[in-house]
């Protein structure tokens, strides 16, 4: 029973912030300021949500998070797609069509999973400016696709390594070439790893803050940066914690839902990503 007590206590610790976020986001500002942090909302109000979504201020711009939410959607989806497609193709080549130097190629690419992103920020900011992509959705798509490649390639390579080579040999004897083997045999078997790659990339890119704050400003920012600005703005006047929390929940919602629906793949991605090489 002691075990259960400890485990439940731990669960409470992990759930506390979620509980506080949700309850606070449903409270009136009056209740936030006068009742306990842990009290249940009474009365329940959805106004903080509405405000966070459509009228909260980031600096002087008071149109809520919604615009930034769609910003995030519009660069996350292409970046996830591009990095996953190339990750799968790279993994396929690096395991089933090895050539002299292909292992070296993989090793050099893996370095990308370790180097702190700070090493890329300044040159990237300058480059994006030169190619006309600074402060744009396109720029974020490029950045996230590029720096996700090492991870997606790692996932897919490790998956394809355990797929028997004889499958590819049999298909070659049957008369299929590089593209058709991928399309007809390898890809249909890749669903589990594609899920891992997509979910991993989605959470990484959706949750990114560093690239967002460095490479964009104003109306092109992703939702994580907008949330930060919103909280920062509100802290200069009266602190409206209920709106802040509603904003936080809105920001967290997409990745949270994915986690609840497909946590299995999420965990697999993490463990695969941590066992490098």
């Amino acid at each position: 029973m002691l075990i259960y007590a400890i485990l439940i206590f731990a669960a409470a610790y992990y759930l506390l912030p979620l509980y506080v976020m949700l309850t606070t986001s449903l409270k009136t500002l009056h209740q936030v300021n006068n009742a306990s942090l842990l009290s249940l909302p009474d009365p329940i109000t959805f106004k903080p949500w509405a405000e966070a979504w459509s009228s909260a201020c980031m600096g002087v711009n008071c149109s809520g998070l919604q615009h930034y939410f769609w910003n995030s959607v519009s660069f996350v989806l292409p970046a996830v797609f591009i990095s996953t497609v190339f990750g799968a193709l790279n993994g396929y080549v690096l395991t089933k069509w090895q050539f002299r130097g292909s292992n070296l190629f993989f090793g050099l690419l893996l370095v990308g999973t370790f180097v702190p992103y700070q090493m890329f920020l300044l040159p990237m900011a300058w480059t994006l400016g030169k190619i006309g992509l600074s402060n744009s959705i396109g720029g974020l798509v490029l950045v996230h696709s590029v720096y996700g490649l090492a991870f997606t390639t790692l996932f897919c390579r490790n998956f394809y390594v355990s797929m028997p080579d004889e499958l590819v040999k049999a298909a070659r004897v049957d008369g299929a070439g590089f593209i058709r083997i991928f399309w007809r045999i390898v890809l249909p078997l890749s669903l589990p790893i594609l899920m891992v790659s997509i979910i991993w990339q989605f959470t990484q890119i959706w949750n990114d803050f560093l690239f967002g704050i460095v490479f964009t400003s104003g109306t092109h920012q992703p939702i994580t940066v907008a949330l930060y600005n919103m909280v920062d703005t509100s802290s200069t006047g009266i602190k409206r914690y209920n709106v802040d929390m509603a904003g936080a929940v809105i920001t967290a919602l997409p990745t949270f839902i994915i986690y609840i629906l497909a946590g299995r793949y999420f965990v697999r991605g993490l463990t695969a990503g941590s066992v490098k090489g």
Partner: protein, 367 residues
């Protein structure tokens, strides 16, 4: 006409040479076995025939056409893999017809062929299943079916039965033999199981260390191996190898054998003696198969050697006796009921007309 000609094939991986000057000529309709221990290069050679591995040196021709640079799809071959390599995402039907589809065979013709093949292999009821829902033996059939659908001029099998359990393996072996007799298509069959090699092959190529040690009919290889490796590899239990001295006493040329007590000189038949004499050395390795050594029943036999009986192993049809001659362990095959008792001594007769002799240094056969 020869369906497959392999001339001076070499293969190196980096600096490591895995195949050395392989020469094989295969007649149309032949069932050729490549047999040898693990790592001797069987799969590599088969993959080179299939076009799945590049050729480092030499020439391969199928149907008289040089195919060195051709891809696997243009070699008119079909291959069955050890792990079956069925496409897990396709049904059995899809697996069998995939090769036809890649070769742009029209759809109605494809389903005709699939049905015919399925009938041949009695897998009609499995056509709409995925490989995961098949037993090992059924997967094996589908893998063979995939090869049959293509009507190639040459079938390549890479240890197709090694993943099956013993009973199923025996059944499939017989079926394969029947299939070959009916189709009369040439087959190259890789195995490391010498029983499979003996029973299936028209000819056997025994490989070792990246070389073909001997190529010939099964019985011929069994009776006349060219070196100690082949002699020891083919046959089960393996041939006994006894280091011994050659000597001439009272005009009789023979080998000295000792079971731990007195040493006997057993005279050799003239044909063998002549060869050994012209070879001219005093020491050789005697090779004698377990069935050519028998416990003698007569009390005073001049040509028998008294040997210890260490272990007796009945296997049903035969009983094997482990003994020691010239300080090396040997195996003797006895009929059940006639085996001596463990711990006793027995007089062993050696049928030296079937004896082989090997050079102790080079392992080549000298007589």
């Amino acid at each position: 006409m020869s369906v497959l000609t392999i001339r001076k094939i070499n293969k190196t991986y980096g600096n490591e040479a895995v195949l050395h000057d392989i020469n094989i000529d295969m007649q149309d309709g032949e069932f050729l076995i490549l047999v040898g221990p693990s790592g001797c290069g069987k799969t590599t050679l088969l993959n080179m025939i299939a076009g799945l591995e590049s050729v480092t040196g030499g020439e391969i021709a199928i149907d008289g056409r040089r195919i060195n640079g051709l891809g696997p799809r243009d070699r008119n071959i079909a291959m069955v893999f050890q792990s079956y390599a069925l496409y897990p995402n396709m049904t059995v039907r899809g697996n069998i017809s995939f090769g036809l589809e890649m070769r742009k065979v029209p759809r109605p013709r494809r389903s005709e062929i699939v049905n015919r093949v399925a009938k041949t292999l009695q897998i009609e009821h499995l056509l709409d299943r995925k490989p995961a829902a098949l037993s090992g033996g059924q997967r094996q059939r589908v893998a063979i079916g995939r090869a049959l659908a293509r009507e190639p001029s040459l079938f390549l099998f890479d240890e197709p039965l090694s993943a099956l359990d013993a009973k199923l393996r025996d059944e499939m072996r017989t079926e394969l033999k029947i299939l070959h007799q009916r189709l009369k298509t040439s087959m190259v069959y890789v195995t490391h199981d010498q029983i499979e090699a003996m029973t299936l092959g028209d000819r056997i190529a025994v490989m070792y260390g990246g070389r073909v040690q001997q190529l010939g009919a099964p019985q011929d290889i069994y009776d006349n191996p060219t070196n100690r490796f082949v002699a020891g590899f083919i046959g089960s239990p393996a041939m006994n190898f006894i280091p011994c001295e050659l000597a001439e006493e009272n005009g009789a040329f023979g080998v000295r054998l000792s079971g731990g007590e007195e040493t006997r000189l057993l005279p050799l038949p003239d044909a063998i003696a002549d060869k050994l004499k012209s070879w001219g050395r005093g020491k050789a390795v005697l090779g004698v198969r377990p069935e050519h050594v028998t416990p003698s029943t007569a009390e005073q036999q001049t040509e028998a050697v008294s040997c210890p009986v260490n272990v007796v192993e009945p296997t049903g049809p035969n009983t094997y006796v482990f003994s020691k001659v010239n300080d090396v362990e040997i195996i003797v095959r006895c009929t059940p009921g006639h085996a001596p008792e463990a711990g006793s001594r027995a007089k062993l007769e050696f049928d030296l007309s079937k004896a082989l002799f090997f050079d102790p240094e080079t392992d080549d056969r000298v007589a």
